[in-house]
Symmetry: C2
Subunit: 132 residues, 2 copies
């Protein structure tokens, strides 16, 4: 498995490392405060790194949370097909990797004549533990 990390700039690497170390999705300003000690001082530096990392598909943005997680799917080349489950109680977020689902959605066509290039799906509910 090859890592695109090789091609990342310094700030991009720092931000990615921070996200990878986290057990949960991180928000931009939380990342910012984590990386201040590494010389990243201002929001644009974080947001620029995030934008690039999302573009590369190595992280994903959870739109309904304004938070970022690293992509656990090693085959994920870009961020064009993403699905997450979000626990309403503990906020745990998991990337759903289900080939039937992704095939279904990637091939989905409706009658509007639109050509879909990308999708993002977010499921909400209670995770196994919080159901108890």
């Amino acid at each position: 498995m090859r890592h695109k990390q090789v091609n990342l700039s310094k700030n991009q690497q720092i931000v990615l490392e921070t996200i990878r170390k986290a057990k949960k999705p991180l928000k931009a300003y939380s990342i910012l405060s984590s990386v201040k000690k590494k010389g990243i001082n201002a929001p644009p530096q974080v947001y620029r790194a995030l934008e690039k990392l999302v573009e590369l598909g190595v992280i994903h943005k959870i739109e309904s949370k304004n938070a970022f997680v690293d992509c656990k799917n090693s085959e994920c080349e870009t961020s064009k097909a993403t699905a997450f489950s979000i626990c309403k109680k503990c906020q745990k977020i998991t990337e759903i990797m289900n080939s039937k689902l992704s095939t279904y959605l990637t091939n989905f066509q409706d009658n509007t004549g639109m050509k879909y290039e990308k999708y993002n799906l977010e499921f909400y509910g209670l995770c196994k533990r919080c159901k108890l």
Copy 2:
């Protein structure tokens, strides 16, 4: 297509009317400036109305745009199952009403043991006109 009949408060009605008149998704502060002449002066008034309307399922939030559209689906009782197509070029947003899709997603199960109560799906691409 019939709109849903619901008992709404004054501010909720004003906000809903504004969204219904719009041809495209509206952002909260854009709504705010539209309704200033009707006596709504501050963000919380708009956000509270929006929150309630979303809860009732008469409008939906497009998470990736921080914008709100009215629900065109007269059978949509709550905001538990939503799907949209978003044109990357003209920003046109359409609610997807496809029973096969909603059945598929509503019944979707993965192996995490999570029980899904709600989902939101956003497709991105080029609409018919922008493809030309």
